[in-house]
């Protein structure tokens, strides 16, 4: 690769990282369930884009497979599974409640981002530029998503924040461990799908039960 092209790729990697972090903020700010899902899908696509770019940077074909796994599992299968398991009124348009107001949450997320840079600092000696872009942002995404779980009160947004943690971990992962055994990537993708299935079914059960108050009839209602 020419030096020019290398510089280009690095600019792009930085740009994608910026948008990735923006999605973490978006997950806090989204006011509807479908909005959360959309932000999550976009974030997963950015993860895939970053993997493709890093694949070029590191000359690693593995990362392209990682990108493909991310697209198939997170951008296609997860929305599909969610629509299958969740009932219509769970994902319908309505305002979500939050324990802490959105502007305050965004400020806290900003503080968490600074904290992430502080945490990764001791690890950054002799590392490549791509690691400098992805590692702190991945950490920040993890911290912000953990925070989001604690303030979200509804089942599906909580679950999507949970999945966003995994996104953040792998956003850092593709930069620091481009040769991470593919079996590990597959394991993570499989795990994510299992999480969606399990929690999807469970939240549907909770929804059904809280819609009904008479305990005697409940055992009839419950079928998964």
């Amino acid at each position: 690769m020419t030096p020019d092209k290398v510089a280009w790729i690095h600019e792009l990697i930085l740009l994608v990282a910026g948008f990735f972090l923006l999605c973490s903020f978006g997950l806090i700010a989204a006011s509807q369930v479908m909005g959360c899902l959309r932000v999550y899908v976009i974030q997963s696509l950015l993860l895939a884009a970053s993997a493709v770019l890093l694949g070029i940077d590191y000359h690693s074909a593995d990362l392209w497979i990682v990108a493909a796994i991310a697209i198939v599992a997170k951008a296609v299968l997860i929305p599909f599974l969610l629509r299958r398991t969740a009932r219509h009124d769970m994902i319908a348009r309505r305002e979500l409640q939050q324990a802490i107001s959105v502007p305050m949450s965004l400020l806290i997320a900003l503080a968490l981002t600074v904290l992430a840079y502080y945490i990764v600092d001791p690890m950054m000696d002799h590392t490549s530029r791509s690691v400098h872009a992805n590692l702190p942002i991945g950490f920040a995404a993890v911290l912000i998503a953990i925070y989001t779980i604690t303030v979200r009160r509804e089942a599906l947004p909580q679950m999507l924040s949970l999945l966003a943690i995994e996104n953040g971990a792998f956003f850092a992962g593709i930069a620091i461990a481009p040769n991470f055994p593919l079996i590990g990537e597959l394991a993570a993708a499989f795990d994510v799908l299992m999480v969606v299935l399990t929690l999807g079914v469970l939240s549907t059960q909770i929804h059904r039960l809280s819609g009904s108050t008479e305990v005697g009839t409940l055992s009839e209602l419950m079928e998964d």
């Binding site: 950490f139 620091i176 939240s203």
Partner: protein
């Protein structure tokens, strides 16, 4: 043969899913578990010579420590399944859902058995995560709003832990690949350890400890635990205890033993810190708890804390004692939950303040509960007494004397608290206004009594003496752990 351990529960699932009636489904699962105990015993015999039994190089195999965990898991599964048969027969849940209970249970077991058998660290992570996902519907089995909420809390928080742990796993792999290694197995990690960057592995280990610590309900990551244990069926509580105090300490201590070889890595400090906080915090929680299921759940946290603290001390004797504590706790805790389950069948209440005079209502249930409770509190002549004594002895002789002193005070607090609650429930006089006292006698299902009896054998035997083959095996397991000492 290693494979059979994983395949047998799957066979039980297949038979159940193919439409076997409920009775058959239960007994097939028990049979599979019994066969697994035998196989685990044979594997343990082979592994106790100090060489790992390998099924696929780099991927599947058990060393001495792993085979020990496997035996504890299979034995716990055997008694828990036996107990489940009787326990389910008392519930009015539709038969179809009871059959699904056995399907989920066996899926959970497959993942649980895989933890000590897998050699690739990313797959160990997957197996641990799957144990959560497969047990969610077991926890929320009752399908009451409270049970579903408990299941949700359990799933969200422990999966959150798993997501934090994967970041640690990725960082660990980063450190390993920077040292020039590529295969992400226990053996390769140990080989690369002296060259690992201490800054990276310290943060990686902390993340993994917090992540898996959330799953083991280490304090302060135990928010999910009280609700989960209150709502989950008794046999599930028993299995979750084995997961938390045997399988997860196995992974953490295994990891610590390799990472501590990296010069300057902070591993033992973190383990001792979280171990002591958990043991001490749990001892205090035991004092103020209102439900006996939670009481024993907190006692599981306490034991996990004790195990991690002892495992991080700088002496082979302490490591030996830590593994011994894993064994004695994993044998005793299921027994306690079965005794508590039988007591629940008698009194039908979960709150400690509502249970009084069990001994006068049913002398045998009262005395069994008393004995099991004393066994878990750490009274002689039961297994935990000896292993806790060994930990204190090793700790006081080693450089971390202060930690051993703290541990001993936590053990005393929890001993007093457990026996206080226990005496109030078992002794005391039954409330005169309690109409249940005049109720017709409850018949306890025979399979529950068998489960209780089988589970009691190792607790009593190990309280008297440690058989020679077991001592030999313990030494081999300690060697596989303690070889990490510089």
């Amino acid at each position: 043969m290693v494979w059979a351990i994983l395949i047998l529960p799957l066979v039980a699932i297949a038979i159940t899913a193919a439409g076997a009636p409920l009775g058959l489904a239960g007994w097939i699962s028990v049979l599979a578990a019994l066969a697994d105990v035998v196989i685990a015993g044979i594997l343990a015999g082979e592994a106790s010579h100090g060489r790992a039994v390998i099924a696929i190089p780099h991927w599947v195999g058990v060393d001495a420590f792993g085979s020990l965990i496997l035996l504890l898991e299979t034995f716990g599964a055997l008694t828990a399944l036996l107990f489940s048969i009787g326990f389910l027969s008392q519930l009015s849940t539709p038969a179809d859902r009871k059959r699904r209970y056995f399907i989920w249970f066996n899926l959970f077991l497959t993942a649980l058995y895989a933890v000590p058998m897998l050699r690739e660290i990313a797959l160990v992570w997957l197996a641990l995560t799957l144990t959560t996902l497969f047990s969610v519907f077991l926890v929320s089995f009752e399908r009451t709003p409270a049970a579903l909420e408990a299941g949700w809390k359990y799933a969200i928080l422990t999966t959150l832990g798993a997501a934090i742990a994967i970041l640690g796993v990725l960082l660990l792999y980063w450190a390993e690949s920077r040292a020039g290694f590529t295969a992400f197995t226990w053996r390769q990690l140990a080989a690369s350890a002296p060259k690992l960057s201490p800054a990276i592995v310290s943060i990686a280990f902390l993340l993994i400890l917090i992540g898996f610590g959330t799953k083991a309900a280490l304090i302060p990551f135990h928010a999910w635990l009280p609700d989960t244990y209150s709502r989950a069926p008794f046999p599930i509580c028993a299995m979750l205890s084995i997961l938390e105090s045997a399988a997860i300490p196995y992974v953490l201590l295994h990891l610590a033993a390799t990472i501590r070889l990296a010069p300057g890595a902070r591993v033992d400090q973190w383990l001792i810190f979280f171990g002591l906080v958990s043991a001490g915090g749990a001892a205090l929680l035991i004092i103020q708890t209102h439900e006996y299921k939670r009481l024993f759940a907190y006692s599981t946290i306490e034991n996990t804390g004790i195990i991690l603290t002892a495992g991080a001390m700088t002496s082979t004797a302490a490591h030996h004692a830590a593994i011994w504590q894993i064994i004695s706790h994993s044998f005793t805790k299921p027994l306690v939950f079965y005794a508590a389950g039988i007591m629940f069948m008698l009194v039908g209440k979960l709150r400690i303040s509502e249970v009084r005079g069990v001994l006068s209502r049913s002398p045998w249930i009262g005395s069994v509960m008393m004995a099991a409770g004393l066994a878990i509190a750490g009274a002689p002549p039961f297994a935990i007494f000896l292993s806790e004594l060994a930990i204190l002895k090793a700790g006081l002789a080693g450089p971390q004397m202060w930690a051993a002193v703290l541990l001993s005070s936590f053990m005393i607090i929890s001993f007093c608290a457990i026996t206080y609650h226990l005496f109030r429930m078992v002794l005391g006089s039954a409330d005169a206004n309690d109409t249940a006292a005049d109720a017709p006698p409850v018949t306890i299902p025979r399979s529950c009594i068998i489960a209780l009896t089988v589970a009691a054998i190792p607790v009593v035997v190990l309280g008297c003496y440690v058989p020679a083959p077991l001592a030999h095996w313990l030494a081999a397991a300690t060697a596989s752990l303690g070889s990490g000492r510089p």
